[in-house]
Symmetry: C2
Subunit: 395 residues, 2 copies
């Protein structure tokens, strides 16, 4: 693996306050030196190591930001719910049960069909600047199907999450506790080796606090870290369950009590906000300011899934976070990079400090401010992962 | 110019109800034959003309839609207002005077700087599926500067609009009527030969009904068609002025009285809605349903400009129209194609009827529904204009 020297970076966001200005650690007219896939040096362009770099890349005044860390996706699935989307936009309300449509399509899909969709979406995400992403199961909801989905996900990311407890599948209707026993027993046995995380949808129409606790405890006993779908559809116990389980993240967080906010602020649990989901559901947006002002760590993620948020675009999430969640562009970029890394308990990504993975997005723009300022425009000109350009050849 | 046969189109939107299903005239498993840059035939793939086409393009089940018609942009400018955007998102209100910032930068920019930005934005728009676009002056606000901006715009589109009456420039502070006389006199004399349209910003902080009437009448006397920036910032006379001037379009239309809606419904004036502007201003969205239900023709456009809507993405406008304006995906696509064409009084674009310009977008998706269903994702895989792939070589 060769070394790369990026020259003439108009604006370099390091997320390292010690390396540059402000909380984002911004450098202007900067250079970045990458060796063996890691950040080896950042500094002023005119102080760049002379003669360094097997490859020298002239950024010509554009901005570089850390690669986006998308800490919440559901990208192993089959089928398309575009008509359900259109019907919802015409007024039909969303209910968690819509997940069943995708479960039915996923179960009958071949491995290659599932992997093909996953490859297409991960390539799309990479083109949009995402260099680390989490991927959940949850459209299998049977032992062999959940294990298969996680095995396929593991082939594309190490951040895999077992979400057998997504909803109660039709064949367990009225027997939720039986399903929870299966999830926490035989299903977890089959899935744990493919997963880093265990997640549960703790909300109206999905699982209650006791059921969620059973699943999370079982996962944690197998060495999996906890994450929770919490408080998306209404007030409820999701955040409490997440903090009690020392979850890395409580995701959605639309309906929070004062106690919920206080619990999050006093914990190491990140609040992961998913504004593209709220956009596609025409749902209320979470109150990001309340969380930020209380000192809660906030992450932004896409929630990419075919039912409620069929986008891979972290730049869209940033634009929505600024417009709808009243986050500043600075807060939104931090949440989409460092925040996502914290939500995955990773310290090697989400920033460009010395030693970090050389995962970065080169923008077709002079500043990261253009991410929310230019909504809908594909502003990521090139994505580099582990110090290598991706895809290695042109599109 | 060769002929092209598009085969295996999963979904072909013609906007010709006589050619296919529904108001969009949708064909499935279709083919499209293009000769000398025009649509020569559409129909079922298995009835495609045998042996036809100097080039045969296999669409492999994807969707084709008419190229987008963006009937409202301000793409001749210099400078960047990203920091103003960030400040606005932090709570500073928008006022029409912000335009002055861009005027100052535009006046001191070289021709090549202005043309370079214009070329970058038009290429970006084309990649996103826009095949026809209008472009206004309005950041010169002095005779030679307005004429220069229109001359540069005319080099990239025939749909040029003289918007000397954008705001009253600083040097005419307190002398608005003097500025209107200049616009309707010497400025129009210098600009008319580069313009197809005349436009005026008739709103709070800009021009009143009498002033707008003077400008529009003068432009019409020179053979220019009328268009009006109407009712963006508050209730006012904009729509009345537009309908009275037989304008092709009244643009923005956020604050409408019942009389305004009735006037539009009884006229040939299109209501052009600009939801990306409302997005970036955090402004209220117009009530599209009220207009559609009253029988008003609605267009969607980007309003691409550096102050209030720095996007070239018609797909974003469609997604916002569905989410925020409660338009159906079908209505939104029609408004972004045929609606835009009507707002420019064009019958050769915005549809794929026999004889239409072969301007089209090939989607990386099986259906146009994915445009709002997959927000933020660059779904246009290829854009064809006048029967030729653009850009002719790969990106």
């Amino acid at each position: 693996m060769g070394s790369v020297l990026f020259r003439r970076i108009g604006e370099l966001v390091t997320n390292d306050p010690a390396a540059g200005e402000g909380p984002l650690g911004v450098l202007h007219d900067a250079a970045l030196f990458v060796e063996t896939g890691r950040v080896a040096w950042t500094g002023p362009d005119d102080a760049a190591p002379q003669g360094a770099g097997d490859e020298v890349v002239d950024i010509a005044g554009a901005a570089i930001v850390p690669g986006f860390v998308d800490s919440h996706t559901h990208m192993v699935f089959a089928g398309d719910r575009a008509t359900e989307f259109a019907a919802r936009m015409a007024g039909r309300p969303y209910a968690a049960g819509g997940i069943e449509t995708t479960v039915a399509a996923t179960r009958v899909a071949s491995d290659s069909e599932l992997s093909g969709t996953l490859a297409r979406l991960t390539a799309e995400a990479l083109r949009a600047g995402t260099t680390t992403f989490e991927c959940k199961s949850g459209y299998g909801l049977a032992v062999e199907h959940e294990a298969r989905c996680l095995r396929l996900a593991r082939a594309v990311t190490e951040e895999t999450t077992f979400l057998g407890a997504h909803v109660v599948p039709g064949e367990f209707a009225g027997r939720a506790d039986d399903y929870v026993a299966l999830v926490a027993g035989a299903m977890l046995d089959a899935c744990a080796r493919f997963a880093r995380w265990v997640d549960v949808f703790c909300d109206e129409g999905a699982f209650d606090a006791d059921q969620a606790g059973v699943v999370l405890d079982a996962g944690r006993a197998r060495g999996l870290g906890a994450r929770v779908h919490a408080n998306q559809l209404g007030h409820g116990p999701g955040v409490r369950v997440a903090v009690k389980a020392r979850a890395a993240s409580a995701d959605h967080c639309t309906y929070l009590s004062d106690d919920d906010v206080e619990l999050l602020a006093g914990s190491a649990t990140v609040a992961t906000l998913l504004p593209a989901c709220d956009f596609s559901l025409r749902a209320p947006y979470p109150d990001a300011r309340r969380l930020l002002d209380a000192g809660v760590t906030v992450a932004l993620a896409t929630d990419c899934n075919p039912g409620t948020s069929y986008t891979t675009s972290m730049p869209l999430c940033i634009a929505l976070a600024v417009r709808e969640l009243h986050m500043s562009p600075e807060e939104a970029l931090a949440a989409a990079t460092l925040g996502g890394a914290k939500a995955l308990r990773r310290d090697d990504v989400g920033h460009l400090r010395h030693g970090a993975r050389a995962d970065l997005a080169v923008l077709d723009a002079p500043t990261y401010l253009h991410l929310p300022y230019r909504p809908g425009v594909p502003l990521v000109g090139a994505t580099w992962k582990d110090g290598a350009r991706t895809p290695p050849t042109g599109r």
